[in-house]
């Protein structure tokens, strides 16, 4: 697929990195030649310096035969104009724009065919904010991912002594709570995957991925580990785009304190937020943290745009007694280094947000893609079409489908109903199937399997 990416910022470069590895032709446009040079050094792609909203630049970048335009520059306006140009001058089939401003998003008619022609708008900061909000709502979980508009969720949790399931085989789960249906999609023990079977015994320290209807998450979590007290106090360091959105999303339900270094930014934040206590200071200042009772904090989030600072302030907070600490870390090398140590959750913004873009890049009808375990594994929500003849999935029982080993059908969403992927369930057309793939290399095979085969006609 030929893809044109406008903007080589944080989002642009991670998307490029992700897509290059999936064998796409990629061109990146940015006005900053320095950023482009960095990209070109690392990745196999073409770069072009220029203003992304000028037709001449777009033409030079080869928009005429591009399959997909990804406008992810810093400016909403440039992104929207680029989509409009692509649609009216070059007939580009798919146009995706990053739109941050809630003002634009509040008027979806702006994005339709008569106006700015934006097929999909994404807002990475919002995705990240939603992701962290879920982690705060379920402080025991490592990851909470939503499928089918939130009807079903995939949850990652570390099993811990005290949970009834620990030391028992998985089949015990069904006996212990017969009314709640859930399915364990994968277990990682000491970072290597196990294929979960009925007799697999759960051990202390296992990382378990299970799928359940969203309303049942808490019940299932209780099986895996002793529950903590619900979150009440949240401390956020860094009042940038993500910190601000998160504080706004949380301030109604939790006690939120937000630490920001820049005084001017503090004043703006305090003006915008109604229920958050905005503090001016350094997130790595242990005196300030003590003064603000970091020991009483349930969830501590370090969300500045500086990896080292985030790691340090998260470590300090953990040291000071914060119950759960989350650090936002851009460099993937750091993520691997830190995760599982003192810092409870190391968040890589690229991995959290890339899924929403990947869903558009993939073949077939993919409703959602979530990147798991730092990009090693993946969970997909695929919409199946066709009939028994044209599809190798529809009309078959799950145990008849020839899934590659390591891929599991976790659940099926049919209309409003969430059904677990048990052996005897028969897939119908228009079902949303949630597939868990242990190794990303298998994704292509899975997609092919779900593809409607036109040759059958």
């Amino acid at each position: 697929m030929k893809i044109l990416i406008l903007g080589a910022g944080q989002v642009g470069s991670t998307v490029a990195e992700s897509l290059v590895s999936e064998a796409n032709d990629i061109t990146v446009v940015d006005s900053d030649s320095g950023k482009l040079a960095l990209l070109q050094e690392r990745l196999d792609l073409r770069t072009l310096v220029g203003n992304a909203s000028h037709p001449s630049v777009l033409e030079q970048a080869g928009i005429a035969d591009t399959d997909m335009l990804l406008a992810v520059t810093q400016s909403d306006e440039v992104n929207m104009v680029a989509c409009k140009l692509a649609a009216s001058l070059y007939n580009t089939p798919t146009r995706i724009a990053r739109i941050r401003s809630a003002d634009f998003l509040a008027r979806p008619e702006l994005f339709n065919k008569d106006n700015f022609c934006v097929d999909f708008s994404i807002c990475p900061e919002q995705i990240l904010t939603d992701y962290i909000s879920k982690l705060i709502e379920f402080p025991e979980a490592l990851q909470v991912l939503r499928f089918s508009q939130g009807k079903a969720s995939l949850v990652a949790v570390r099993a811990f002594k005290g949970g009834p399931l620990v030391g028992q085989p998985l089949s015990f789960l069904h006996e212990h709570m017969p009314h709640v249906d859930t399915r364990v999609a994968a277990i990682f023990r000491k970072d290597s995957p196990l294929i979960p079977k009925g007799d697999t015994v759960v051990e202390d320290g296992d990382e378990i991925f299970f799928i359940a209807a969203t309303k049942n998450i808490r019940t299932v979590l209780k099986e895996m580990r002793r529950m903590d007290k619900p979150t009440r106090r949240v401390m956020i360091v860094g009042g940038g785009n993500i910190g601000r959105r998160l504080a706004k999303a949380l301030e109604g339900d939790y006690q939120v304190k937000l630490i920001e270094y820049n005084k001017k930014a503090c004043e703006n934040l305090a003006g915008e937020l109604t229920n958050t206590l905005v503090l001016n200071g350094d997130g790595t200042d242990e005196k300030l943290m003590q003064q603000e009772n970091v020991g009483e904090v349930d969830v501590f989030c370090a969300l500045t745009n500086d990896d080292e600072n985030n790691i340090m302030s998260a470590l300090l907070a953990k040291q000071g007694g914060a119950r759960k600490v989350i650090a936002l870390i851009n460099r993937s090398a750091y993520v691997d280094l830190v995760q599982g140590g003192k810092i409870d959750i190391a968040l890589s913004p690229a991995h959290v947000t890339i899924g929403s873009l990947l869903a558009y890049v993939r073949q077939g009808d993919v409703a959602a893609v979530h990147s798991l375990r730092r990009g090693a594994a993946e969970a997909l929500e695929l919409v199946v079409h066709g009939d028994r003849k044209s599809s190798s999935v529809v009309g078959r029982r799950i145990d008849e489908i020839e899934l590659p080993s390591g891929a599991t059908i976790g659940a099926v969403v049919r209309g409003d109903e969430v059904m677990m992927g048990h052996r005897d369930l028969v897939i119908e057309s228009e079902d949303h199937v949630i597939v868990f793939v242990i190794n990303k290399a298998m994704v292509k095979k899975v997609e092919k399997l779900f593809h409607v085969n036109i040759g059958f006609f």
Partner: protein, 486 residues
Amino acid sequence: MQRTLTVIHALGLMLAVFSFAYLMPILTAIIYGQGEVFQDFLLAMVWTLATGVLMWMLTRRYKGELSIRHGYLLVVAMWTAMPAVATLPLLLLLPDLSFTDAYFETMSGLTTTGATVLVGLDVLSPALNIWRHELNWLGGMGIIVLAVAVLPLLGIGGRQLFKAETPGPMKDSALTPRITETARNLWLVYLGITIACIVSLKLAGMNWLDSICHAFAAMGLGGFSTHDASVGFFNSPAIEAVLMVFMLLAAMNFATHFLALRAKSLKPYRMDVEGLATVGLIVLSCFGIAGFLWWQGTYPSFLTALRHASFNLISVATDCGFASVDFNQWPIFAPLWMLLLSCIAASSGSTGGGIKMIRTLVLVKQAGREFVKLLHPAAINPMKIGGHVISNSVVFSVLGFIFLYFMSVATLTFALLISGLDFISAFSAIIACINNAGPGLGLVGPANNYGALTDFQTWVCTAAMLIGRLEIFTVLILFTPHFWRR
């Protein structure tokens, strides 16, 4: 000097325009067929017009744009000169009245205070009563606002006047791009609600003269009445209810009324934090005081207590000043609470007086900020009202205003105490005058009036009314050396 002449030029024009206000009492005199009254008013009108035109003609060479500094001077000059010329008919028709008392009466009218020195209002000629109430009404939203709508047509810029005149710190919330347009719109809203009030009062059982007079007094939150017993004379729950509604309307920001009318929705009221606080505080207080009076046994039933407590509390809290019973006789907590409300309850941009609710909110929030600052030294906690950040400079100016307000109250109260008045009368008289409320307690309570005061005491009260109406700064700025320095 040249600039001062420019001020006189503008003042002359104002007086000339003001002289047309006599048309209403003149008309009344014609309708009631009172020849002598008619002559006196005509005389007053001619004199005022002549003085104004003369001042205007003589200083014609100095016509020009006013600086902000002279805007203040003009405002104060007008608010002292207009009551002075407005005394003419009173002095002509009531030969026993001293100038001091007449000036108090007209100042009370134009500052919408509603305190009176006259006894026997019931037998006063209708034209004179109309004149007093018209002063209330004109004073209501400020003759200046009217002038702002009219004078620019005559080639005199008015934005600086508007700045000095419109009450409260919300003055920058311009409704239309042009100041003239804004003033005209506000004035139309004011006129519209007044007409609604007149009709409602007529339907509630007043005669036309009384309903016009009381509507004028209610909308201006003045509180003059055509009867010595004030609204108590009618002893009608319907009339009291109508007046309560319109007093509350007048105690809210007229800009909000305008926005609501223009948008034809109630949303602007929901957005008006200040207005909600005003109405909320007053309604809560009504029930509280009614309960208190019932508990104390002042009234036998809760409903009677509620009726009297609501009317008198709303009247005093909104700085109107009608009375339906002698609340001086209530247990002292109730009237003192009403006086406290009169200091803080009215909204900015209304015709009420006092500190204004917006400043009260700023102060309350500032106190909260101090607590947060003590607990969290690193906190950045800006002042926010209705979701908008209020800059520290505004907070400081509010603090400065409050200091001057309380110093003025203290100083003027001491002045009355020195002259021999008892404490409750002195204190309540100053509070009632500086808030432009009207009746105080004790000697100046609702059953009595300010006629009992000595000349000196009357002048002190007159000064309090002026200072309060012009938001203190405007008057006191003239007494700072900086003002007169070039």
